[in-house]
């Protein structure tokens, strides 16, 4: 089954659990099989991941009616100048100390559209153009969304490590 791990990893991060991810991936492969004749691109993986995303949206509709999963209005129109000014120097070092479990928890708590672009960019190593194809948005939106996704992850990480220090202080 080509690209099954990539499909499963994306579905797993989007649904948040393995059981639902399996259902989404199975649905995606059935769709891919059915519509394979419509595949015109040169990157089968990008095409397949697009179908995984669509299957995920269908799964959301079937299982969580009314819940808004991709909230583009909130995330895509705020300007880059509203970001906090990064403090130079120590942040990069701090980021490198993150452990796997903490990172997984932080990413899992990001909004779905942030998780999606992060996985496609950092794990699948897709270009902005390819991510745009999967997510069905312009490449410019991918750029700003990815930037905000990282910003949100950094903010969450800084908060988390700050809390950790406070707790550590209380213990000692």
């Amino acid at each position: 089954m080509p690209h099954l791990d990539a499909a499963f990893n994306l579905a797993r991060w989007l649904t948040g659990n393995a059981t639902d991810a399996e259902d989404v991936v199975q649905d995606a492969y059935l769709r891919a099989f059915r519509y394979f004749d419509a595949f015109r691109g040169d990157n089968f993986r990008v095409w397949l991941l697009t179908i995984v995303r669509n299957s995920f949206l269908t799964w959301v509709q079937d299982n969580r009616s009314g819940r808004l999963v991709f909230d583009s209005a909130v995330t895509d129109f705020a300007g880059a100048d509203t970001w906090p000014d990064p403090s130079p120097g120590p942040e990069a070092m701090l980021l490198e100390q993150v452990d796997r479990d903490t990172l997984a928890t932080l990413v899992a708590h990001l909004p779905a559209e942030y998780r999606e672009v992060l996985i496609l960019r950092e794990i699948e190593d897709l270009s902005y153009k390819e991510i745009a194809q999967v997510a069905g948005v312009p490449a410019g939106t991918v750029m700003s969304r990815l930037a905000r996704a990282r910003q949100a992850l950094r903010t969450a990480w800084m908060q988390q490590s700050g809390e950790g220090k406070v707790r550590g202080g209380r213990k000692s």
Partner: protein, 250 residues
């Protein structure tokens, strides 16, 4: 490049997604902006952390099997798109046939699969699995045809189409649709084509193509014989083959 633009472009820069010109302008700004340099470092660090430390979930081994089991049953056979068939044919059997193929392609409509299609595919698969592809193995058409004719109460055409890219492999006796049938075996590259031929009282019918379990099936009736061609070659190649057979049968 001003600082605000640079800050906006930094993530794309870190991702290697900027064109050379913007890359140059951004680098020029970063070189004298400590704030941007720190931001670039942080972005690289974040990217590295996510790439190295974020758990990547591998599909459980059972998932591939589960999808595989669901695939053939759940996915309906795809209709063959006639629009694309005849331009590809030029590669397969030569431009001379393209005109005839176009005429055929226009009439070539998808048919609903039925028991006969299932049986034809099953015979085709069995012929390859059971190592019983041919009873008489020769590319000599003057051997295959008499061999079949001697054992059946009709005389199928078994012409060699090596010149067109479909060499004759041999023939065997088979049983399909309640009839003793000639199974004439051809090769297209590494794919096998089984052509089943048996008598039929029904009226002549033009070729119809369908797809089942990854195989293409073309059947037609002509001159009191029923023809069923089965193979996993591409639709256009099987169509080219059928055109050759129909011309040879006259």
């Amino acid at each position: 490049m001003n600082h605000k633009t640079a800050m906006t472009l930094l993530p794309a820069g870190a991702d290697g997604q900027l064109g050379p010109f913007r890359r140059f302008l951004l680098d020029r700004h970063i070189a004298r902006c400590t704030s941007c340099r720190a931001e670039q470092e942080a972005l690289h660090a974040l990217s590295t952390v996510v790439r190295t430390s974020l758990p990547v979930h591998r599909a459980p081994p059972s998932l591939a099997a589960r999808i595989g089991a669901a695939l053939p049953r759940e996915a309906p056979p795809e209709p063959v798109r006639t629009r694309l068939l005849w331009p590809q044919l030029g590669f397969g059997v030569g431009g001379a046939l393209a005109g005839a193929a176009l005429t055929l392609a226009l009439m070539w409509t998808p048919a609903a699969p039925d028991r006969l299609a299932t049986e034809a595919v099953a015979n085709h698969v069995r012929s390859m699995l059971a190592d019983h592809l041919t009873d008489v193995t020769t590319s000599d058409q003057h051997t295959v045809k008499p061999w079949l004719s001697a054992r059946l109460d009709f005389s199928p055409v078994a012409k060699d189409f090596t010149a067109s890219g479909y060499p004759l492999v041999g023939g065997r006796l088979d049983y399909i649709d309640g009839h003793q049938a000639a199974a004439i075996v051809y090769r297209r590259d590494r794919h096998i084509i089984n052509l089943f031929v048996y008598p039929s009282n029904e009226a002549d019918a033009l070729p119809r193509m369908e797809q089942r379990d990854g195989f293409h099936i073309v059947r037609w009736r002509s001159g009191g014989l029923k023809y069923i061609a089965v193979s996993d070659v591409e639709a256009a190649q099987l169509q080219g083959f059928v055109t050759l057979v129909r011309q040879a049968a006259g």
